[in-house]
Symmetry: C2
Subunit: 194 residues, 2 copies
């Protein structure tokens, strides 16, 4: 099945759209394949696109002054990804996006996105709804990060994202949670013994 066809099925479960509207959305999109370990956004580049992951798994992360990776989030199938700060301000991104698996994505430029949003209010409402959901997810993650122990964070991650958990190495889960690999290993040992 073509990439856009998969996207169309996803979209039609969420929004009512006419064929003409779908054509507009299709005509402004571009396809791209991303190899495993290939970069999709490098540090310093501008994140000027909305990207929908059709197949595979991407991640958004940042490298600190000491060279350590810190994973902000994973984006498997049916998720959207961008560095929203760079997207919004037009400034170079401090973050990196690469593929953890061979992936295929659909891409809209910021300009095309705005144009399509203007033409199709229901599509704009859909996009904004997604954004609110992301905001709420971040809100809950912050609460989790200031109120939970490492073990609780780990359990919560496995419970919330079982699919992602099964597809990424543990040291990346540790990075996402903000603990070292060793700590995660200890938490897991403690956990499986009980």
């Amino acid at each position: 099945m073509q990439l856009f066809e998969i996207f169309r099925k996803y979209l039609q479960e969420k929004v009512e759209l006419t064929d003409a509207q779908l054509d507009l959305i299709r005509s402004t999109s571009k396809e791209r394949k991303i190899a495993k370990r290939e970069f999709y956004l490098r540090e310093g580049e501008i994140s000027g696109h909305n990207t929908f992951v059709v197949k595979g798994l991407l991640r958004l992360y940042r490298i600190d002054e000491d060279g350590n990776e810190h994973i902000m989030r994973f984006a498997p199938e049916n998720w959207w990804i961008s560095d929203r700060e760079s997207y919004n301000t037009g400034e170079p991104s401090k973050f990196i996006i690469d593929a953890l698996e061979k992936s295929e994505v659909l891409i809209w430029t910021k300009e095309d996105s705005e144009f399509v949003y203007g033409e199709i209010p229901a599509f704009r409402a859909f996009g904004e709804g997604l954004f609110v959901e992301s905001f709420i997810a971040y809100h809950n993650r912050i609460y989790n990060s200031i109120s939970s122990t490492a073990e609780e964070k780990y359990k919560n991650f496995v419970k919330t994202y079982p699919d992602i958990f099964n597809r990424v190495p543990l040291h990346m889960v540790a990075s996402y949670l903000g603990v070292t690999r060793e700590t995660l290993s200890r938490v897991r040992r403690h956990f499986t013994l009980k």
Copy 2:
């Protein structure tokens, strides 16, 4: 000066609005005074309003199973506050909003907000711009929480929110940062000795 007059000055620095549009915004708003320590949103209530802090200082926090407070954010003058999850879903809030200082706020119901947004697209764009900024702030806070030490988090808070820092007790800063009061006290000692 009247509450709305203060708000009008704030708003006109950000958006171009006609007198008629300002009248619509004014006519849908309600004023409220909140005493120090008074609750503005209790756990279990629905957060169905947009609230602008004209004077004073509010906070949004949650109490965990062990009875510990975890502060999500502070809202001083010229900030907006609500529990966006409850606002969006209509579900009872798990969070609490109360006043740390004697405060005065302007309030719009969700319904009125949507109506005014529909009537004044520039006002909608303004509101959505604020929301994107909040999202970016949360994004950066998450990065900070998974990549920084307690000392770095503390320094960063003081630098980013010097005004708030000077108005709230240290144990609330600790709560916001996700560490105990004792740890914050140690960090400060270590910090001032150098």
